[in-house]
């Protein structure tokens, strides 16, 4: 049986990669993908603890998160598509109109 702390290390690694991706990459699609990484890091945590406690609650939550991620990806891609039609760019540092 794999001890739960290893899952957590994996989750932490995925989460960190995701956060760094979100913070450093310019392309919004990659940022979106990085967010998926973060979400999946959470999923691993949920499943790991579910397994550890012998309860399915965490797995149910993981299913919810996956569903949510799918919805979020759809909405996020829709926004990106609409934005691209207007500004012909996908670079996050050029999306700076929403300021003072």
């Amino acid at each position: 049986m794999v001890p739960v702390d290893q899952y957590l290390w994996l989750s932490l690694a995925l989460f960190t990669i995701g956060v760094i991706g979100v913070l450093t990459r310019r392309n919004v699609i990659i940022i979106l993908m990085s967010i998926e990484l973060i979400l999946n890091a959470v999923n691993i945590n949920l499943v790991a603890f579910s397994h550890m406690f012998g309860s399915v609650d965490g797995q149910v939550f993981a299913i919810f998160v996956i569903t949510d991620a799918a919805a979020e990806a759809a909405v996020g891609l829709g926004i990106i598509l609409a934005f691209f039609r207007n500004r012909e760019t996908l670079l996050a540092d050029e999306m700076d109109m929403l300021k003072w």
Binding site: V19, V22, L23, T24, D93, M95, K99, W100
Partner: protein, 689 residues
């Protein structure tokens, strides 16, 4: 009060009939046809005439001492107590009251009688004029005012009529208001009359202050009760103030200048207002207040002198006029002078008698002149007439009768009344008589100059107008004929005693002028003998005939002479021809000074009132508002903006955080989380230890 006979009790109706039709004309006249207008207006005057005749006969029916009837309709100005000059308290009462006595009887008969004839004449004369209803409306309004004037039982109501006739005179002189000269003449008449009216009004004030009454029937007793001596200066002052009013209304020196200009009005107006009725109001007023005049020999003397001088002065101007109506206008002034001469020498009744005969023949002269003007297509210059006697015979004969009457040929009406005046003047003062006598000669001369220039000699009518010469319609000729008859027989009602007459008219009037108290003027100097009276008459007849012959010689026989004479008297002729430059003198002395005053006041208004006052206030408001704007901009708004600026200053560094880059926000969240968890773990770590 005992019940009066019908016509005397309803005397107040006489002015009302024309008033009603005048109101109808002025409010609804535009919608009425000329025919209805003629019937209504002439009809109302005719009804007034019937009532006047009735009133006359019912007055005559009474004994001569009781021939005063009054009818008070209502109290006009209720009794107002006031202090008289001598400190006593009197009550000022002015009734809407009417008084009928022999004097008013005569006046209403003249006014309604002659007025009716002139209305009839006007239906013909004005038939083709615009504003037909307006003309008749004014004419009836005039009839109302004039009847109020002669029927009033107090000075104030008389003044109402007095002003009313003045207004109507103004309206009718300016009837052709689109003509500048006509509207100017109307204004001149009105303004000159105001000068006289101011005097009259002051006289009324002084009367009520001195006598405590303005009712005619009370003035005599008040004079007696007041114990005024003959020649009392206060009485003289009243008399002179009244006379100032009379000179304005009756066109005497110095206020006669408006009457010649008044000829701008339609000819029936000249006949009715400026010959027969209104201009005689002054004579009527002096006669009506004779009780006051009889106490003041000085005022009487002035009246006589002004009358005589006016008669001569106006006659001299009449001699050189070429406008047919202007000649008649100066003649009217001259004849009014005679009437005042009569009043001035104490022969008030003779003055009224001449007033009546003058109304007949001068009314006729004007109407005939109107007929002539009608015939020659509106031409008024006698130099462009001549030889009309065959073409318009009825006009010619009636006008000739009127001329004979005014010249004073025996036995026409003018002879009897004029010689009565001259006889009275001679008894009083030979100089006054001489002036009147000489004027009679001039009158005969200029009247027949008019007749000869218009009807005899060779025709000088414009070729164009020559074809259109025609006798006037019947509506114009009938009044001419009636007035011609009156001009002949009108004087006979007071046939002189030396010809076996009995002076009915004079005796009828004499109660009015009887002095009701002890104060009497000294009797006239030495009653002239019958023979003397006859001599005077023959003398004046001689001069009159001489005048006529002279006119015939100059204007029929030797038509080249008048021009030569005019040249021979170059300077003097020009002086008279230009009316002694009196108009220019008045212009220079009063009119232009009044204009200067107006201009000065206008300049004051523009520079001081408008400049300093209005514009100054405007400038001040502007200045204050500019200060206010400055305050508002820099202090009020400034403080608001300063607050905003301070907020902005502090918010500036903070808002730099919001750079719009989603990743920088994310970074901050991450840093925040790290900080938060860092702190959390740090605290937790220490807590565990």
């Amino acid at each position: 009060m005992n019940a009066q006979p019908f016509f005397l009790d309803h005397i107040w109706l006489i002015p009302m009939f024309p008033l009603i039709t005048a109101a109808v004309m002025l409010f609804y006249g535009r919608r009425l046809s000329n025919n209805i207008v003629s019937w209504l207006c002439s009809g109302s005057v005719f009804v007034s005439f019937i009532f006047s005749v009735g009133a006359f006969f019912q007055t005559v029916a009474k004994p001569s001492s009781e021939r005063v009837a009054t009818k008070v309709l209502f109290e006009w100005i209720p009794a107002v107590p006031y202090h008289m000059l001598d400190g006593r308290i009197a009550k000022f009462i002015a009734d809407w009251g009417f008084q009928i006595d022999p004097l008013s009887c005569v006046m209403i008969l003249i006014v309604t009688g002659v007025g009716f004839l002139i209305h009839i004449y006007s239906t013909g004369y004005m038939a083709h004029e615009g504003g037909y209803y307006r003309f008749f409306g004014y004419l009836n309004l005039f009839m109302f005012s004039m009847l109020m004037l002669v029927l009033a039982n107090n000075l104030l109501l008389l003044f109402v009529g007095w002003e009313g006739v003045g207004t109507c005179s103004y309206l009718l002189i300016g009837f052709y208001f689109h003509k500048k000269s006509a509207s100017d003449a109307g204004k001149k008449a009105f303004i000159v009359n105001r000068v006289g009216d101011a005097g009259f009004l002051l006289g009324i004030f002084l009367t009520s202050a001195l006598l405590g009454t303005i009712r005619f029937t009370d003035i005599g007793p008040a004079l007696a009760a007041g114990g005024f001596a003959i020649g009392d200066p206060r009485i003289t002052a009243i008399a002179l103030l009244f006379f100032v009013g009379a000179t304005g209304k009756s066109a005497q020196i110095p206020l006669y200048v408006w009457l010649p200009d008044a000829m701008e009005g339609p000819t029936p107006v000249s006949a009715l207002i400026h010959a027969a009725t209104m201009v005689t109001a002054g004579v009527y007023m002096v006669t009506r207040t004779n009780a006051i005049y009889q106490l003041s020999p000085k005022a009487m003397g002035l009246v006589a002198l002004v009358g005589a001088v006016t008669a001569l002065f106006a006659a001299s101007m009449g001699v050189v006029q070429n406008d047919i109506k202007k000649v008649l206008a100066y003649s009217t002034i001259s004849q009014l002078g005679y009437m005042f001469l009569a009043c001035g020498v104490g022969a008030f009744t003779a003055g009224i008698f001449h007033l009546m005969t003058h109304a007949f023949f001068k009314g006729l002269l004007f109407l005939a002149a109107g007929s002539v003007i009608h015939a020659v297509s509106g031409e008024q210059d006698m130099r462009k007439m001549g030889a009309l006697s065959k073409k318009i015979p009825i006009t010619y004969w009636t006008m000739l009768i009127a001329a004979l009457a005014i010249a004073g040929i025996f036995p026409f009406a003018g002879f009897i009344s004029k010689d009565l005046i001259l006889g009275k003047a001679y008894e009083k003062d030979a100089v006054l008589w001489a002036i009147g006598y000489f004027t009679a000669g001039m009158t005969a001369f200029y009247m027949f100059r008019l007749i000869f220039m218009t009807f005899h000699g060779t025709s000088r009518v414009d070729h164009e107008a020559e074809h259109h010469i025609h006798e006037s319609p019947k509506s114009m000729l009938v009044p001419l004929v009636i007035l011609a008859a009156l001009s002949i027989i009108g004087g006979w009602i007071s046939w002189p005693e030396i010809f076996g007459g009995n002076s009915h008219f004079i005796n009828f009037l004499s109660p009015v002028v009887a002095v009701p108290h002890e104060a009497r003027m000294e009797p006239l100097k030495g009653p002239s003998s019958r023979l003397g009276e006859l001599y005077l008459m023959l003398l004046s007849e001689g001069l009159v005939i001489l005048g006529i012959l002279f006119a015939w010689y100059l204007y029929v026989k030797r038509t080249d002479l008048p021009e030569k004479i005019a040249k021979g008297f170059g300077g003097f002729y020009r002086l008279v021809y230009n009316k002694y430059y009196v108009d220019q003198l008045y212009d220079a002395m009063f009119v232009n000074r009044a204009k200067d005053l107006g201009l000065a006041l206008g300049a004051f208004d523009r520079n001081v009132i408008d400049g300093v006052g209005v514009n100054g206030a405007g400038w001040l408001t502007l200045f204050i508002s500019k200060v206010s704007i400055w305050w508002d901009t820099w202090i009020v708004d400034g403080s608001v903006r300063l607050g905003a600026r301070i907020v902005w200053l502090f918010s500036y560094p903070v808002r730099l955080i919001q750079d719009g880059l989603v990743q920088s926000y994310m970074l901050l969240i991450v840093l925040g989380l790290i900080g938060f968890f860092g702190y959390y773990f740090y605290v937790a770590h220490h807590a565990i230890r």
